[in-house]
Amino acid sequence: MISYGYHRYPGRLFVVEGTDGSGKSTQLTLLYQWLKSEGYSVFFSEWNSSLLVKDTTRRAKKRRLFTPTTFSLLHATDFADRTERDIIPPLKAGAIVLADRYIYTAFARDVARGCDRAWVRDLYKFAVKPTAAFYFRAPLDVATERIASARPQLKFYEAGMDMGWSDDEEDSFKIFQGKILDEYDSMRSEFGLTLIDATQPIHTQQRQMREIVGRYLRENLKQKAVPSK
């Protein structure tokens, strides 16, 4: 039976989650630098990074072929490839894997799009349980402000335009992000997500993150890890 959830690998898996504009990627990059400098073998795994699925996703987004269900299933396919290729092997080898977005992103987005909560959770049952999952929480207006200033144009699915909530991209984006935020909030206790207040200064957030990650690190991880991919 292929289900990785309860396997015990020697490596560690840390994931960051949160709405767009919460600053989670910045924090993960800083964590990566720190772990590297401490002598650990660290691997990065990003959402939507499977080469196998990439072309299909790109084409579907461009031609707007997705429904909530196929959007969900194709992202799960991408994630399965990532799990089989980029996550399990380094964890088995005793390395540290850092994931920018994980299954919680799918749970939040897909449910916001109307997919059944239990169905989406079942879909990702094969995922490895993270050592720790950080949820960077930023209030809706802060996050949307950051995105608005960073990106000239919102993308169709990113703004949730496929749902027909509003004809205005920015309004639609806000509605969508609001629903996602609600989902994240309800997942905090369900999955034991570690909350980080994303309105704090960057270095404060990073200190909190390192403190928690540090609890799970052991000297032997440095020797055990394979030097390169």
Binding site: M1, I2, S50, V53, T56, T67, T69, L74, A76, D81
Partner: protein, 272 residues
């Protein structure tokens, strides 16, 4: 009109309403002649005045090409492949099958969720997991399982069609044997066993596919007649006064003899 019934959680955003069409599934292992039968049924149904949509695995606009490319490279992990198939299925269900059923079409599908379930199962996926994912599937009006008694007989069919053994049909990714033939036999045996197990669970109508093609084809037509008669607008064409395409195309006895594989049969499965 039949109520829409789903195996599990219905698709989000789908209006559950009675539909006038019929969803007919042709299932069976590799090389059993499914696509030939789908093609024959299509012609027969259309000549009887039914609008027909035929579909099959990896034929979705969304994921069909991606799956084919990935399969060519033999680089797909087991979970990834399984979910890619599910994506393909959902796209066809939402964009082809359901709209056609609402419009009163007879939808003929070459394989449905059962092949995907069997393939996943023999590859060690959690059967409960696969079933839940495919909970989005509409319960068909009928599932016809074209059954061959042995993997060896399937292998002879594949060879007779002249197309030889393919990597995935032989289950080479499973490492069951060293060559394509041995692997095909071992893999198809596992699949046959799983299909037999599903027969009761999903209520398959089992048809013996080891008989000559014509006999299997007429058995299929005989089983489908009552289904399509339910559709109100059809009744007139089966009146005895009418030049009935059904009796014309479904002779009670067919001369025995090994049918030559049709062009469809040779092409079959290359894309599945």
């Amino acid at each position: 009109m039949k109520e829409m019934k789903f195996y599990g959680t219905a698709l989000p955003g789908t209006e559950i309403e009675p539909y006038p069409g019929k969803l007919i599934v042709i299932e069976g292992t590799d090389g059993v002649g499914r696509s030939t039968h789908v093609a024959l049924l299509r012609t027969w149904l259309e000549s009887a005045g039914h609008a027909v949509l035929d579909t099959g695995m990896t034929r979705s606009v969304l994921a069909g090409r991606g799956i084919k490319n990935a399969r060519t490279g033999h680089t797909l992990g087991r979970l990834t492949l399984q979910l890619y198939y599910a994506t393909d299925f959902a796209d066809r269900l939402e964009n082809q099958i359901l709209p056609a059923l609402r419009a009163g079409f007879v939808v003929l599908t070459d394989r449905y969720i059962y092949s995907a379930i069997a393939r996943g199962f023999v590859r060690g996926a959690d059967p409960e997991w696969i079933r839940r994912i495919y909970g989005i599937a509409l319960v068909p009006d009928a599932v016809f399982y074209l059954r061959m008694h042995s993997a060896e007989a399937l292998a002879r069919r594949v060879l007779a069609s002249g197309r030889g053994f393919d990597y995935w049909e032989s289950g080479m990714d499973l490492g069951l044997a060293n060559d394509y033939y041995d692997s095909f036999i071992a893999y198809q045996k596992l699949l046959l066993k799983e299909f037999d197990r599903m027969t009761g669970e999903y209520g398959f109508h089992v048809l013996d596919a080891s008989r000559p093609l014509k006999r299997t084809a007429s058995a299929l037509r005989r089983s489908i007649v009552p289904l399509i008669q339910e559709a109100a607008h059809v009744t007139e064409i089966v009146k005895p006064t009418n030049v009935s395409p059904i009796t014309r195309l479904a002779p009670v006895s067919t001369p025995a003899g090994q049918p030559q594989p049709t062009e469809e049969e040779s092409r079959e499965e290359k894309s599945a």
